[in-house]
């Protein structure tokens, strides 16, 4: 346990030390939540915009810390030779990957608290569904995006990872059910959109928190992404 805890602490420290990354992961979801909350923009069948917005921004926060932040950080650690150096220590590869996933979960937890506080105090949000299930989905979603981030870093070079992660971020923001529900996208795009991990994630969060449903289908889709992502990430992980 001691190596895992120490490495997790280091991973959190490294996350917080990349200021520009902290900015995009922490600030962007908060600003979007406040902005769209104030102008009250939401799809038709949401009587309160915050019921649509909060799940969206929780997913966005998870995505930016897991997919974007983690992939870029890991890819640069490889190009700086840090992973190679760690590979010669007794720290196991599974502990290193686990420490990275842990750090994403813990940092995300902080963001979730901030977003929920703003939603509750600023926009009168009250949870209606099963909070335990919502928490579980958050963990699955965080692990999924951390896995996908590690996968990106595993197969791409550092500079390419940076570009790919940011492109994916924008793509999923628009077409992956975050800023707009995927099932309201026109024609064939909606079908693809709904299968994306961010859409499955945000749909599950909305159905649980706003409608009190169990959201079986989106949870299954999200879990499949998670399993695939984590397996592929550990297969493609290279020390150098």
């Amino acid at each position: 346990m001691q190596p895992l805890i120490a490495q997790t602490k280091m991973e959190i420290r490294l996350t917080m030390r990349r200021f520009e990354a902290v900015l995009i992961t922490m600030i962007v979801p908060v600003i979007l939540l406040i902005f769209f909350g104030l102008i009250g923009l939401a799809p038709d069948d949401y009587s309160r915009p915050i019921d649509f917005l909060l799940p969206s921004m929780l997913v966005l926060a998870v995505m930016s810390t897991g997919l974007v932040g983690l992939s870029i950080r890991t890819a640069y650690e490889r190009s700086y030779g840090v992973l190679k150096r760690l590979g010669s220590t007794p720290l196991s590869r599974s502990n290193l990957l686990l420490a990275k996933v842990n750090s994403v979960i813990l940092v995300t937890l902080g963001q979730i608290v901030v977003l929920i506080l703003i939603a509750t105090l600023g926009f009168g949000w009250r949870p209606e569904g099963n909070l335990l299930l919502a928490g579980l989905v958050l963990v699955i979603g965080t692990a999924t995006f951390a896995g996908l981030g590690l996968l990106l870093a595993g197969v791409l070079r550092a500079e390419t990872t940076l570009a790919a992660a940011n492109t994916l971020y924008i793509f999923l923001l628009l077409f992956g059910g975050i800023i707009w529900p995927a099932d309201r996208l026109p024609g064939g795009i909606s079908f693809i959109g709904e299968l994306l991990p961010s859409a499955a994630f945000s749909t599950a969060m909305r159905e649980i928190l706003a409608n009190g449903e169990t959201a079986v289908t989106p949870i299954i889709i999200l879990s499949l992404w998670g399993i695939a992502g984590i397996i592929l990430a550990s297969r493609t992980f290279r020390w150098e």
Partner: protein, 334 residues
């Protein structure tokens, strides 16, 4: 364990005795090589990076592995460290095969990479404080920082350290876990002469405490000062493996000089007691001879008649650099 054997207290084995005087471990260790390589081969496509390499590294010695760029040094080290798979041959590191028992070897080795390997935004203290958690009996960060002279920079981010300070931190990081075998890949590159000498002392201390050290370097002075034995390799093969003094003694007598005039080596070869002539570039010439006194006479006469200025004229054995050049045909630095 084995009893203390006074006969084993030769000058050679005295070095092996740990700071705590644990003689019994020494007696047990002396019989086995720390590293043993036999007919090692590794190729990348058409390139045979390591081509039938065999040697042993003794317990407690500093073993310098020299060779021009692309000689196969790094590939060899990386196979020993467990980073690369070999194509064929036998490799034994501290009793284990790095390809199959990497997990058993990792707690026993310390690695200093040729460059990088450290988080840019982390301080020396934070790095050492992290690594100590990976080893059973780790050194304290404060102690290590003091040892490598970084106590005053303990809180500076790695990227803001000077090149020499970065190397010293990498060295400290390599010895956190009190390794039995230490890999140092060009440990003093980017250091100023003062830091380099302090680092040499530190490396010798590690050896004196019983650590086996494998070292690559571009500084011949470093290899001569530190190494108990020197291996020179090129094209993936071992060219020679000797103690530094033997290496130089085995070479012939030479007369060397520098001159501002550009001289064709062929011209010098016509001196009757010159065996061979090499130019090292930068106006330096080395003439191998069996009779240095006669050659000196011939050379000065030749220079006087041709009106060529000769500077820094010396006769003697080959330097390590000469040996390197003769065996590999390359400059040490290219």
């Amino acid at each position: 364990m084995a009893s203390i054997n006074p006969a084993a207290q030769s000058i050679e084995s005295r070095r092996l005795v740990g700071a705590n005087g644990s003689t019994e471990a020494v007696t047990a260790r002396e019989s086995v090589a720390a590293v043993s390589i036999s007919d090692l081969r590794k190729s990348y496509g058409d390139l045979d990076a390591v081509d039938g390499l065999s040697f042993d590294i003794k317990q407690g010695e500093i073993f310098a592995l020299l060779g021009p760029n692309g000689a196969g040094k790094t590939t060899t080290l990386e196979i020993l460290e467990g980073y690369r798979k070999r194509d064929s041959g036998e490799v034994n590191v501290l009793g284990f095969d790095p390809q199959h028992d990497a997990d058993s070897i990792k707690p026993l080795i310390g690695v200093m990479l040729q460059s990088g390997g450290i988080y840019p935004s982390v301080t020396p203290f934070e790095l050492l404080d992290l690594l100590r958690n990976f080893y059973p009996n780790a050194r304290k960060p404060e102690e290590l920082l003091e040892l490598v002279g970084l106590a005053d920079s303990a809180g500076t981010h790695y990227r803001h350290l000077s090149g020499g300070q970065q190397r010293r931190l990498a060295l400290a990081a390599a010895i956190v876990g009190r390794p039995k075998l230490l890999f140092l890949d060009e440990p003093t590159s980017a250091m100023d002469p003062q830091a380099r000498r302090a680092t040499w002392d530190l490396i010798e201390d590690q050896r004196n405490q019983g650590t086996t050290i494998i070292l690559t370097t571009h500084f011949m002075e470093e290899a001569e000062r530190l190494a108990d034995r020197i291996a020179i390799m090129d094209h993936g093969r071992l060219l020679t493996l000797e103690e530094p003094a033997t290496l130089r003694r085995n070479g012939g007598s030479t007369v060397r000089f520098s001159s501002p005039a550009s001289i064709e080596p062929a011209e010098l070869e016509q001196l009757s007691s010159a065996v061979s002539v090499r130019s090292t570039g930068q106006g330096q010439y080395i003439i191998e001879t069996e009779n240095p006194i006669v050659l000196l006479d011939e050379l000065t006469t030749w220079a006087r008649t041709k009106d060529i200025l000769i500077d820094d004229l010396r006769a003697g054995h080959e330097t390590l650099e000469d040996v390197f050049l003769r065996l590999t045909g390359h400059q040490v630095r290219e």
